[in-house]
Symmetry: C2
Subunit: 281 residues, 2 copies
């Protein structure tokens, strides 16, 4: 496995691979890798000759007061996991190499990124689309793999690729969960043992919505309330949002006619967790 820290070296390596007709699959991450990321690497390996995984905790997608400085960076463990998973290139750029002091160009999605996490984290998705556009230009992937856990991010990235005509296919990996249902997240390690138990309310809320839909419920007003009720039963949990939106446009819907994305963000103690499921009637 090659470990590359220089943006230029990575781009030259990618151009070289492209010239020899190699197919590059790319898994962009913020590190602190877990089985969720590794499942994306597996998808990447299955559809390419060379897998590039990047680790970059992107400052411009964190808001003031968020956990940028505290975000876990277990470098050696990540490196070992990448080797074991069969990553060919670990791209691990410095912040100073990624952003000039007078950086002034941003990629912005103006529609899908407004609601859900975008509503409470203004500027977050502009940071995400900007860094992903940069990483795509450096790594030059044929395919890039993103997790369905960040459902809104996945849809925003797909829109960016479509609207800017990027020559990249986007592949989505399903959410990977602990045996008890908690979606894997690098932020789970912030949870105390009791919060870890309480965090199961996210999956329980989604289960409740799925059961209601299976039983014929089509009103998203009812579904949202049922999910809120589950969260309300856990004192340490505070709703950031509980939404049912059109799976494609991410616009709120009142009645299920097409696939609906049920998505929620909940603070358990101080830790903000997200989870989601696509409901189909």
């Amino acid at each position: 496995m090659d470990i590359i820290r220089s943006v230029e070296v990575m781009q030259q390596a990618a151009l070289g691979l492209r010239r020899t007709g190699r197919r590059i699959a790319f898994v962009p991450t913020m590190g602190c890798l877990h089985e969720g990321h590794l499942s994306l690497v597996k998808l990447a390996r299955a559809c390419s000759d060379q897998v590039v995984l990047s680790i970059f905790v992107n400052p411009i997608q964190f808001l003031p007061g968020e956990d940028f400085a505290a975000y876990p960076r277990p470098v050696e463990a990540d490196e070992r996991l990448c080797r074991e998973a069969g990553v060919d290139f670990l791209f691990y750029p410095d912040t100073a190499l990624m952003y000039s002091p007078d950086h002034s160009v941003f990629v912005e999605e103006t529609c899908l990124s407004r609601g859900l996490c975008g509503a409470t984290r203004p500027g977050h998705f502009r940071g995400v689309t900007t860094v992903v556009a940069k990483l795509f230009n450096v790594v030059l992937p044929d395919v890039a793999v993103f997790g369905q856990k960040d459902a809104q991010q996945l849809r925003v990235i797909r829109r960016m690729v479509r609207d800017l005509n990027m020559p990249v296919s986007i592949l989505a990996g399903p959410i990977v969960r602990e045996p008890d249902g908690l979606a894997l997240s690098s932020r789970n390690r912030y949870l105390s043992p009791s919060e870890r138990q309480d965090a199961l309310c996210l999956r329980r809320a989604l289960d409740t919505a799925e059961s209601l839909v299976r039983a014929g419920q089509r009103s998203t007003v009812v579904l949202r309330q049922a999910m809120r009720d589950v969260i309300a039963g856990v004192p340490s949990a505070q709703v950031d949002y509980v939404e049912c939106v059109d799976d494609e446009t991410l616009e709120p819907v009142e009645w299920m006619e097409r696939p609906v994305l049920a998505a929620l963000a909940v603070r358990v103690g101080k830790t903000r967790l997200i989870d989601n499921t696509v409901l189909t009637s």
Copy 2:
């Protein structure tokens, strides 16, 4: 010469060229080609194996009330000029192929694009950077050639390439002028014979600034006023802006210490013309 209207066909052709190691040079234009454009094609040919020229009158860089609908589109003459100039691919996409009805992703430069033309044409450069990013992703050039006449555009594009790590070199072509000094522009054809004469005031203003600098003048306050005085002497001419800015940051400067971009936009009758020169002490 291949004429391509489909975005997908163009991108596949470009990917094919890239795989066989061909060097692609790209000249993006809005058509209505003149010797200025053809000088860029010459530069493109000199540094590549394959020259792609695009003609696309980009709706999102025109403001309401500007000349988008009226912008000249002499398709057959342009096609002939491209053949004669040795263009390999003429990429000529439909607006409907370039922008989905729900297009929602934009590339925005937030610093260099604020002053000069950006001040009086808000949103213009967002339209430019967005379409150029799109065209780069479709044409996949190694080199792209822009004219120095659109000095601010050139600097904004260079910044975009740097900040988004685009794997493209930007080459600048010098301003091409009529024998009497008028900078070539597709919009010159809007001028009546008497306006055509009056339009020489732009070059005269720049000449005046250059003479003053050669004579030792370093105050841009003086230079600006001298240029304004030249324009003021022509009744059909109305200043949009007359500026002296740092050639790199495009920030206004009062005293020449580094190269200064003298740039002006002047309405002659109803036609808005721009011109510029770099002053060095």
